[in-house]
């Protein structure tokens, strides 16, 4: 097949093939809050092919029109910065279809096959299909096997499968899930979504590191003192207590999102920006995380759980007082881990990673602290004169990058003071940043898996996390150990203080 002669890569955005997206769990929260608003926005922004279609799948019987009506309400309610344009919606909604059924019922997949066949001939989707599993993880295998049995894992065009985290709850279950999915789809067809990697700033880490010549020479143990990765949430479990008490912060955040962020910050330059080249380097980094003995785990990790507090004049319940949570729950709502990476670039440099619920503010950032100047030639005047250089990559909110360095304070004498050079995504570029789901859905349609997690990365993360889980589960914690609204347990501060470091207060 010849190439599209109308392409103008200098001016056009990425090429988007036609396809049908089949969403399992079409009546669920994720579809309403994230997927449909993202797809509508892509249509609004001319990013989808003309014959693009969506098939929603759920148990509730609905007509196509009733499904369209529901999705319209979802787009109206959850599109944060996109005005509903009725004409754009009408054209978009003409491509929305619905199939009701039980995931365990073979007849569902037969009906889906029939519907996809009709769509392929009426909307010319070229046989391309993207299956999105927005369902309980326990149902992933059933859905994939159902698709395989009905022959829907193959067609005239490409077939891809998106799965949401968690990818197993430990190494064995992650491998088992992968084995089941691999019975139907090849690894290259499986897109494990991690919405953190879809954020502009996380992608910008790659541009920042490998698009500029000035930072990479400093990006190693010789110049970097330590790295802090913080993902703080000010909210509690928000009605998800029953689910959350089975998971905990370590598995919910660090095993996937934060280790992926750490891998992006610390990976070696890839040979190209092709998906597998980038993912190979991320995977290598994750595999280089130093395994810890039980004693090292006790020294280098801190679990926490928030207790009740009064914040802003309101009484806030502790985790154990949340609905659906056991009164003696041992769940970690806070986790802090000191990782070490065993490679030539990073040997001996601590990567402090922390996450927690009910912390003082919602913020996700990476702080790279550089070594101090080797000699204090300006004398020691105390105060800020010795503040180290800091590079801060803010992922949310206010995505951006700041560099702190010392400058001479005006006036007589040689007094230094830290100043900040800031780059902010929102105000530095006039246009809106796409949401993570817009980015990731479009990537999957295009077939760019760079920002998706590969099975070897999932396994490498579990290899690093599973021993910590094991030690934590065998420990009887004195929870709660931090009040809601604080920066976590004192033990987390002590963990850094042992190496002469302190957590930033973002």
């Amino acid at each position: 097949m010849p190439d599209n002669p109308f392409q103008d890569p200098l001016r056009f955005e990425r090429r988007v093939p036609e396809c049908v997206i089949v969403i399992f769990g079409a009546n669920g929260d994720l579809t309403k809050r994230k997927l449909m608003p993202a797809l509508y926005r892509l249509a609004y922004d001319r990013r989808l092919a003309a014959g693009f279609a969506v098939v929603g799948i759920s148990r509730t019987p609905l007509t196509d029109d009733a499904f369209r009506e529901k999705m319209l309400e979802a787009v109206k309610e959850f599109s944060e910065d996109t005005k509903l344009d009725e004409d754009v919606w009408r054209a978009f909604a003409a491509g929305l279809f619905y199939v009701a059924g039980d995931l365990a019922d073979d007849a569902l997949y037969q009906r889906l096959a029939q519907k996809m066949g009709e769509i392929e001939s009426s909307r010319h989707t070229g046989g391309n299909a993207l299956f999105y599993l927005s369902i309980q993880p326990s149902q992933y295998a059933a859905a994939a096997l159902g698709l395989g049995k009905a022959g829907l894992n193959q067609g005239k065009g490409w077939r891809r499968l998106i799965v949401e985290k968690p990818f197993g709850h430990n190494l064995a279950s992650a491998r088992e899930l992968a084995d089941r999915l691999h019975e139907v789809f090849q690894e290259s067809e499986i897109y494990r979504i991690d919405h953190y990697l879809g954020k502009e700033t996380v992608q910008n880490i790659l541009a920042f590191r490998f698009g500029n010549g000035i930072f990479e020479p400093l990006w190693n143990r010789r110049y970097v003192n330590h790295v802090q990765i913080t993902a703080a949430e000010s909210i509690g479990v928000e009605g998800r207590g029953a689910y959350y008490q089975e998971v905990g912060a370590l598995a919910d955040m660090i095993q996937n999102h934060l280790l992926q962020v750490m891998a992006t910050i610390a990976m070696e330059p890839s040979a190209s920006f092709r998906a597998d080249a980038v993912r190979d380097e991320r995977s290598k980094l994750l595999r280089s995380i130093k395994p810890m003995s039980d004693d090292q785990i006790r020294c280098n990790t801190v679990a926490g759980q928030y207790g009740p507090a009064r914040i802003g004049g309101t009484d806030v319940p502790g985790f154990r007082q949340e609905p659906g949570v056991k009164a003696d729950a041992q769940t970690d709502t806070y986790a802090a881990v000191t990782f070490f990476v065993e490679n030539w670039r990073w040997a001996g440099i601590p990567f402090y990673v922390r996450t927690g619920k009910r912390l003082p503010k919602r913020v996700t950032e990476i702080a790279i602290q550089f070594n101090q100047a080797p000699l204090a030639i300006f004398g020691d005047n105390g105060g800020d004169d010795h503040a180290p250089n800091l590079l801060i990559v803010r992922i949310q909110p206010d995505e951006g990058i700041s560099l702190k360095f010392l400058s001479k304070r005006p006036g007589a004498g040689m007094h230094l003071r830290p100043v900040s050079m800031d780059f902010n995504y929102g105000s530095s570029f006039g246009e809106r940043s796409p949401s993570a789901y817009e980015t990731l859905l479009l990537d999957a349609i295009i077939g760019d898996a760079t920002l998706y997690t590969r099975q070897d990365m999932v396994e490498a993360s579990w290899v690093a996390i599973e021993p910590i889980q094991r030690v934590w589960r065998s420990t009887k914690w004195e929870f709660p150990n931090y009040p809601a609204g604080s920066w976590g347990p004192a033990a987390a501060d002590e963990m850094l203080a042992r190496r002469g470091h302190a957590w930033r207060k973002p």
Partner: protein, 328 residues
């Protein structure tokens, strides 16, 4: 009598401006301001032009394309006068304090002083960075001094839709491109989203396989869209050359400002703007997407992002000029 404008004096004023801004920034927030510059943007504009609107466009461009802006305001009357002033445009990425600023130099010149401009502007260009000339004064294009002014820049951006005779404009631009001038035409830039949507139709393999069957391309236009119509017709004819497609361009009072139709056996593709939307129809399927008329900021932003040869535009410009005259 002629007023003297010294580049050295302007550069000195610029230095003083930065010193005073640094002092103010320090007083306001305890921090200085950052000077940002990625190019020199020379804007040639009429004195009667809406300077406030131009200022807003430049302000919108600055965060992404921070530039030393040299705004030359022309007035047709008067002696050989040049005068100038310097100021800065700042934006506040964080909170309410000025942090990043770009410098602007405004020069007022009479037509009679046009030939003096290069000697003033050249020393003011930021070192080691590209210079782009944005010509917003169409009448200047016909003046003999324009060549000398254009030669200062690595790229010249103009809007052929503002010129009175579309065919003559295409011819003039094509001749300039032939002389090696790197050009950007905002009439072409405004077509990017249209072309992208059309291209998107042929990302579909079935549609792509039908391309050789296309036998007719028809572009209709109204109002100031004539050069755009020639451009898009030439682009389509070039792209479908192997299928031997002939493109026709016609003025139409009844339809929207621009309509593109491709027809062949079993395939009909039409693109048309309806209010702020672009409607793409492929046989029986219509796709409607948001496409408000692109602002000056958006088209300039695209052009400033391409300070290098644009082979598709250059080829299309040459073809458009040929096509427009062949139709006479």
């Amino acid at each position: 009598m002629s007023a003297v404008l010294s580049p050295d004096r302007i550069l000195k004023e610029l230095t003083e401006l930065w010193v005073s801004m640094g002092r103010e920034g320090h007083d306001e927030s305890g921090a200085g301001v950052l000077r940002a510059c990625s190019m020199t943007l020379v804007v040639l504009t009429e004195e009667a032009d809406d300077i406030q609107r131009l200022g807003e466009t430049l302000a919108a461009l600055m965060p992404e394309h921070p530039a030393r802006a040299i705004i030359i305001r022309l007035h047709p009357e008067g002696g050989r006068d040049l005068s100038g002033r310097v100021y800065a445009q700042c934006w506040m990425p964080f909170g309410q304090r000025r942090q990043i600023c770009c410098e602007q130099i405004e020069i007022t010149a009479s037509d009679a002083a046009l030939s003096d401009l290069p000697a003033v502007v050249l020393p003011l260009a930021a070192a080691d960075l590209p210079t782009v000339l944005w010509c917003r004064a169409p009448r200047v294009l016909a003046m003999s001094e324009f060549r000398a002014i254009a030669s200062m820049a690595g790229k010249v951006v103009l809007d052929s839709s503002a010129l009175p005779d579309a065919k003559a404009a295409l011819k003039r631009l094509s001749d300039a491109a032939g002389r090696g001038v790197l050009l950007g035409d905002l009439a072409w830039t405004r077509l990017t989203r249209w072309r992208e949507m059309l291209s998107q139709v042929f990302e579909n393999r079935e549609r792509l396989a039908q391309l050789p069957a296309i036998g007719r391309v028809r572009v209709t236009f109204s109002g100031s869209y004539e050069t755009a119509a020639w451009y898009v017709a030439a682009w389509l004819a070039d792209t479908l050359q192997s299928a031997g497609v002939k493109a026709s361009v016609a003025a139409s009072a009844g339809e929207g400002p621009l309509r593109i139709e491709l027809e062949g056996s079993g395939l009909r593709v039409a693109l048309e703007r309806q209010d702020g939307r672009l409607v793409v129809t492929v046989n029986e399927i219509s796709q409607c997407t948001s496409l408000p008329p692109p602002s000056e900021y958006l088209v300039m932003r695209e052009e400033l992002g391409i300070v290098r040869t644009d082979p598709v535009f250059e080829r299309t410009l040459a073809s458009a000029a040929r096509l427009a005259y062949a139709t006479d």
